[in-house]
């Protein structure tokens, strides 16, 4: 089996990494805000928000892709405004693939972060309060650092999920080499061509290695965080 990678292969790998990184970094603050609201706030309709956040996890990915198509398509309520106001189109672009990956990664990211926010000892925040700390300072010095392991874990899960994202992406932005052809889509495309088994196994091995790498890096990061600054959080 030939394992040398062609320039096209490198494009696929680079694109997958770029899309996943952009998806996770963009989704990170949004997912944290959602996790915070779900963990800490009480309001009517919270159950509905919770269900909406989890929707991409349970709905067929192709449905999520189709909904993105409706919302962000040229004539969609969001897509048309993005185009008019900013000249931005997501359809058939790598940015659209990043959006699809971010939406699909959101439930996993929110879940991991919510768990770690819920595990922060509120009594520590009370202690900080009696010591004169403002709500912002309590958040920055207590709640945020103590929930960092969950934020790392959420980002890791989100990245791994983004690397593997297929259904919503191919529905929303199709398969355009060099623009939206990520690893899973490249594997699918290669499977359609007779005699491309070598390409399929190359991409499959790369996918596994990337996911494994993401896992290891985040493990190391989380461990460093726990050893250095938060000895008994995890």
């Amino acid at each position: 089996m030939d394992f040398s990678l062609s320039p096209q292969d490198w494009t696929v790998i680079g694109l997958s990494l770029k899309i996943s990184l952009v998806a996770v970094t963009t989704m990170l603050p949004i997912a944290f805000a959602l996790a915070w609201i779900l963990a800490r706030w009480r309001f009517p309709g919270k159950l509905l928000l919770d269900a909406l956040v989890h929707l991409p996890l349970v709905v067929p990915p192709v449905v999520t892709g189709w909904l993105l198509l409706l919302l962000f398509g040229i004539n969609g309520p969001i897509g048309s405004r993005l185009d008019q106001w900013f000249g931005v189109t997501l359809l058939f672009r790598w940015t659209g693939a990043a959006l699809a990956a971010a939406i699909m990664a959101m439930p996993l990211m929110v879940r991991a972060m919510r768990l770690s926010i819920e595990s922060v000892d509120r009594r520590l925040e009370q202690a900080a309060q009696t010591l004169g700390a403002s709500p912002l300072r309590r958040f920055l010095s207590i709640s945020l650092p103590l929930s960092l392991p969950g934020i790392f874990a959420g980002a890791m899960l989100g990245f791994a999920r983004s690397i593997g994202e297929f259904g919503a992406t191919i529905t929303f932005v199709s398969d355009i080499p060099g623009e939206t052809r990520t690893l899973p889509i490249a594997i699918y495309a290669a499977l359609q061509v007779p005699g491309a088994e070598a390409a399929v196994s190359r991409f499959a091995i790369i996918s596994v290695l990337l996911s494994l790498g993401a896992l290891l890096i985040s493990e190391i990061l989380a461990r460093r965080a726990t050893q250095g600054r938060m000895p008994h959080v995890l």
């Binding site: 520590l124 900080a128 309060q129 009696t130 000895p231």
Partner: protein, 205 residues
């Protein structure tokens, strides 16, 4: 009057109540567990809102349901020594001590370190401290926030027998030398009799 407290709070089916006017250096609040002693401290600190009543300490009104005064906990300048200490586990002792530092305290940082004998602990993480060490760091953190009064919730509960006397003497020195009014919660009458110049019994139920 150092303390003028009148607090009512319904909790479940019962009422937690305290009426206490006293010019005392240390008031001991005594009663079996579950009568709401800690709730009283939380109300004085501003962490729980009483249904009605007032909290006046050293002539300062911190809460008064009649006139709608309710100073937030961060502005009450309480030095609260929690029963479970609540040292920040992700910060070294030094950062814990400085967390609430405000100017105008009775003691400087160096004086607090010497007073409590914790200068050698500055670079340790809280989970590595012994019970007595953690207790002294928690006292230091409260003192450095320049409190106007102290709230102590069973400060001997987490300390082994050998260290009890040491912490008791420390509390006596805080009481006598720093002249901060102290509201002290305990279930131990001997402890209360030794430390307090006023003992208030919380009724059961």
């Amino acid at each position: 009057m150092s303390f003028d407290l009148r607090l009512r709070r319904r909790l479940g089916g019962r009422t937690i109540a305290l009426d206490c006017v006293a010019d005392a250096r240390l008031i001991a609040l005594i009663g079996p567990s579950g009568v709401g002693k800690t709730s009283i401290l939380n109300m004085v600190a501003g962490l729980r809102r009483p249904d009605e009543g007032h909290v006046r300490i050293g002539g300062d009104t911190l809460f008064d349901s009649a006139s709608g005064i309710d100073r937030p906990a961060e502005d009450r300048h309480a030095g609260y020594l929690f029963q479970d200490l609540r040292l920040f586990p992700h910060m070294r002792v030094e950062r814990n001590l400085r967390y609430g530092r405000r100017p105008g305290g009775a003691l400087s940082e160096d004086e607090v370190l010497a007073f409590l004998g914790i200068g050698h602990l500055l670079h340790r993480m809280p989970p590595t401290l012994s019970g007595g060490e953690a207790q002294r760091v928690a006292i230091g953190r409260a003192l450095l926030s320049a409190p106007r009064f102290l709230l102590m919730d069973e400060p001997l509960s987490g300390v082994d027998r050998a260290r009890r006397e040491e912490i008791l003497r420390l509390i006596e020195r805080v009481r006598d030398e720093l002249r901060l009014p102290i509201l002290y919660v305990t279930h131990d009458l001997h402890e209360a009799e030794r430390l307090a110049d006023r003992i208030v019994e919380m009724p059961d139920g």
